[in-house]
Each structure stands twice: as C-alpha cells, then as structure tokens.
C-alpha cells in the first residue's frame, strides 16, 4: 500500500488488526514522510531508529487486542518520555532526559503505540503561533510561511501533514483547539481532571490539560479513550466513570439543545467567521439539534483574567528552573548571580515576560488587586457556564477569531497575539471540555474551525455532536505537499 500515510488512525488500526498491514510497514511509511518533511520543522527530537526497531519487535509477537496496535506516534515535546530528551521548546531544558514517563504517554504505549519523536511547541506552551520555541518556527502545511497555531504547533502541523497518524497536545488557554483550527484538524481539550498531568511539563496547573489532535472525530474519540484515566500521581485527577468514547460514538444528536452565546460576536470579528458560525448553526439544525440563544455575560473578562491566573501559576511553576538540579546552567560569580544568569539566558522573551507578570501580580501589595480579583472573576465566568447549562446540553462557537496568520505578523504585539485565544480561554477557566472541528475555509483557502463546548465530564456528548456535524460539513483539507522537494 503506497498511500499508508493518507489513512486515518482508525483505518490503520483496522488494517493492522486484519493483518493487511504490519506495524513495520506503517512505521516505515510515517518515518519516511517525516524525514521528507524536515522543512516543516515539526519535530524537535526524532527517534526513528528506535521506532522502527519497536515496530519490528511488535510484528514478531503482535498483540492485536490492543487499541493502538503497533501504531507509530509522535507527541508534543511537553510530555516527559523516559530516556528521550524532553525540552518543552526551551533552551533551559535543551539537555533534559527524563528518567520517568508521563502517565498520558504511558497509557498510549500500554495500548501498543510506538514513539516516533517529540514535536515542536511554543516554549513552555506559552504562545499561539509556535514562534516562541527555542527550536524555531513550525510551518503550517496549508501554506508556506504560515503559522500552525500554538502552543501545540508541531503537533497540529504533523497531523495535518500526515507525519503521524494522530498525536497529543496540551491546552492551557487554547493550545490544542486553536492550532487544530489553523490546520484543518480536530482537537479536543478534555475536562480538567480527565487526563493526568503527571509528567507533563507544568505551565499553569489549574488550567493545563492534555488531549488528542486528530484527522477526524472518530480517531479523536479513540485516543481520548486511551489517555483519559484516573491517576493517583496527579492530585487533581478526578475519579469519574469514563466512557468508551469511540465505541459509544453516535451521530444521533436529535433533540440535543445547543446554545449560541451572543457575547462571542466580538467587535471586529471578520465576516467570514460570522458566516462560518451561521453555517455551523444550520449544520447543527440539520442534525436534529435544537438551537437556543444564551448569554455568557462575562466573556469579555476571560482574557484579562487568564493573563493574571496563567502567568501567576507559571511564575511559581517555573521557579524550579534554577540551573541546579537539571537543565541549562550559566556560570555566575555567586549563587544568586548564577540563578539570575541561568534564567535570563535559559528562558526566551515571552516566558520571561510571563514570569515577570506573574511575579508582579503575586507580589506584596498587589496580590488582592490582581490575583484575588482574577480568581473572583473566574468564579463569575464559571457561573455563566453553570447557568447556561441549565438550558442547554452544549455550546457552539467559532474556535478562533481569524484563520492562520503569517509567521512574524504578530510577534511584536503581545496583546494582539493573546486575542487569538478569546474563544478558547473561557473554557479552560471553567474547566470544561471543548472540541474544535474543521468547518470551512476563508477567502484565502485557509481552514476555519468551530468549537463545541460541553458540560464537565460530558466529552461523549460533544464528541457525538462533532461526529454528526463532521459528516454534514464534509470538510476537505487542501494540502499540496509544497514542502516536499
């Protein structure tokens, strides 16, 4: 089969289970395509030789009862992988080789998947365009010189370009859903507490969640089923009954009540996004859903709240990078000098900026005015969703206020970059699940996504709505392989 990399995850699993394909054939195909796609800069660390060996071993004694039998997979470089360098896109972790495995990746390998390498991302997941990575920009396979979104930009690029059948990202304020929207792929941010944070390089602990990034909703459901487990190693992991998301997936969403929040009609939103949203509403109706107008009155306060809460938690989490225990060290005249030089040289500009914001809002005299205030507004934002869910089962919004932009277009204005996450950030603040599905193209032919937001722990419902709408939308990505010479 010459078109192995064009197959979806579900097709590959089926073909390996029915012995039409071996893990070695599949792994070789994705490794070759990845090697021919260096121009995209989607990988930070490649592990192809090991992957091919593991595939060979799998084929010698294949366990075809597993959910991801012999499937090769590259993952975002924010997940600690035992004995394989994990950088979080930062110079400060350039040489860090974990001695342990993250729970989410361990769950994936337990189901038979094979690690191919680590994918590029914004430094410590702080960014919306993958331009803050120490390892350089990532190209969006949709068009030359276009950002793939961020922070899971290597992941979105790799899935859209079919360098990996599926992948995982992390989402603190939109880092799965925004890049999925920019690349015409599907990305799910699960409920906070659904996927273990153990072994994921921490950014903002009350917001961070891992989730699948896929070519279609069914693949996404399958990976979610694998990665979502209760884990006692994460004290915020929640012990709830998890569905078999892929098995229980259904297109029957008749009578589901879907809310349309009027506050998401933001000033200056391009008409293309407004039109996409209207189209989405029609698709949802065609699927038998009932559309209900709702209000989330504090939506406009979500981004300012996020830019207090996330940097505050980041400044605390990133205090551990001191040049002593692991990572990069700059020599100094004394201990303090060493700390200051290590952190000044080891962190990039955006990370330093956020540590400074976080330190300031937590500092003596400012805590009440900023951090406490933000926690109170966060409560109001969560209350908005709680009220809305008395009337509806899910909420439909655009994923992003625009399509992908050019590399370098927004790097000089942090606030305009932050506005990218205006529709995704409220979901993290409220701890809810959200999925972005590709739903159309803008005039330039770039993909646009729609977001479906669910109640806490109701991943199955938003996956079902996404699955039903996906069929009606019938989206096709226009990828020309322009980067392959």
């Amino acid at each position: 089969m010459s078109d192995i990399t064009k197959q979806s995850l579900s097709e590959l699993v089926e073909n390996i289970k029915s012995k039409k394909l071996s893990s070695s054939e599949v792994t070789k195909a994705f490794v070759e395509r990845s090697e021919n796609s260096k121009e995209l800069n989607a990988y930070i660390t490649e592990d192809y030789a090991n992957a091919l060996n593991k595939a060979k071993k799998f084929d010698e004694k294949p366990n075809l009862d597993l959910k991801l039998p012999g499937i090769p997979m590259a993952v975002k470089d924010l997940f600690c992988t035992r004995d394989l360098r994990t950088t979080a896109g930062s110079k400060i972790l350039n040489n860090f080789v974990p001695t342990y495995e993250s729970t989410v990746t361990q769950n994936i390998w337990n189901e038979g998947a094979i690690l191919m390498g680590k994918l590029n991302c914004d430094e410590f997941a702080m960014g919306s365009s993958n331009e803050t990575s120490f390892f350089g920009n990532v190209q969006n396979p949709i068009d030359n010189n276009l950002v793939p979104g961020g922070s899971s930009g290597g992941s979105s690029s790799a899935v859209a370009a079919q360098l990996t059948p599926i992948t995982i990202g992390t989402d603190t304020g939109g880092s799965i859903r925004q890049p999925a929207s920019f690349t015409g792929t599907v990305g799910l941010k699960p409920t906070y507490g659904s996927c273990s944070r153990y072994g994921i390089v921490a950014f903002a602990s009350s917001l961070d969640q891992a989730g699948p990034m896929a070519q279609n909703v069914k693949d996404c459901a399958l990976l979610q089923e694998v990665i979502s487990t209760y884990d006692e190693k994460d004290s915020t992991s929640i012990d709830f009954k998890r569905n078999e998301y892929s098995k229980e997936l259904t297109k029957d969403i008749k009578g589901k009540k879907i809310g349309i929040p009027k506050e998401y009609r933001v000033d200056g939103m391009p008409k293309e996004i407004e039109d996409l949203w209207k189209k989405g509403i029609e698709y949802a109706k065609d699927c038998g859903a009932e559309i209900i107008d709702i209000s989330l009155p504090h939506t406009n306060y979500a981004l300012p709240t996020y830019y207090i809460v996330a940097p505050a938690e980041a400044s605390s989490n990133l205090a551990r990078y001191d040049g002593v225990k692991y990572g990069f060290r700059a020599e100094g005249e004394n201990l303090i000098d060493m700390y200051e030089k290590t952190r000044s040289q080891g962190f990039g500009a955006e990370v330093q900026r956020r540590i400074m914001i976080g330190t300031y809002v937590l500092s003596s005299g400012y805590y009440d005015a900023y951090y406490l205030k933000a926690q109170k507004v966060r409560k109001l934002i969560k209350n908005d969703f709680d009220d809305a869910y008395k009337k509806v089962d899910a909420i439909l919004t655009p994923s992003t206020p625009s399509s992908a932009f050019k590399i370098g277009e927004k790097t000089n204005d942090p606030v305009s970059m932050y506005l990218n996450d205006i529709f995704t950030v409220p979901v993290n603040l409220a701890g809810l699940p959200g999925i972005s599905i590709p739903a159309g193209h803008d005039a330039k032919g770039y993909p646009l996504g729609l977001q479906i937001i669910g109640k806490a722990f109701d991943e199955q419902n938003i996956l079902n709505i996404a699955y039903a709408m996906e069929e009606k939308i019938n989206f096709k990505n226009n990828i020309t392989d322009w980067w392959i010479k």
Partner: protein
Amino acid sequence: MSIDLKTIKHISKLSRISVDEKKAEKLAVDLNSIFDFIEKLNELKTDNVEPLTSVAETTLKLRSDEVKSKNLRDQVIKNSPKENEDYFVVPKVIE
C-alpha cells in the same frame, strides 16, 4: 497605571532574571500594554464573590503514607548540570 523601570528592576530581582537597561525598557513597554488590558477587570464589582481556586469540585484524596519508590539517587542526580558523586554542586555559599 504605569510600571516604571524601578518596578521592572524590582520584579526582575524577585523573579531571579537579570535584565539590562535595554531589556528593562522593552519589558516596561510590554508589561504596560498587558496591564492596560488587564485593568478591564476593575469594571466589575466582586466584593461578594467567592474566589475560585479550583474548578475540580472534589476534596483531595487521602492515601496511606508508604514508600513506593526507592533508590532513585542516580535518577535524581542524572540530569544535574554539575555532578559530584552524591550531590548537586553550586557556587560557594558560605565563606
């Protein structure tokens, strides 16, 4: 509100990130534009609102206090930038 260079120097000291004059000036511009944006929260009255510290409405689980992993010294030391047998090494602290 305006964050001046003196404040930037103070935050940089608290953050243990050294900044020179040029970097401090750039940071002042960036932080001021970000804080202008954050100030929007002051439009809201929140006197009687409970702060949200965690979205997970569960209490922490208790577990028995037992050792589950041991002999991790080599793993713990493995990534240290400067290694000396069993210890992490830092510049001299006590004269």
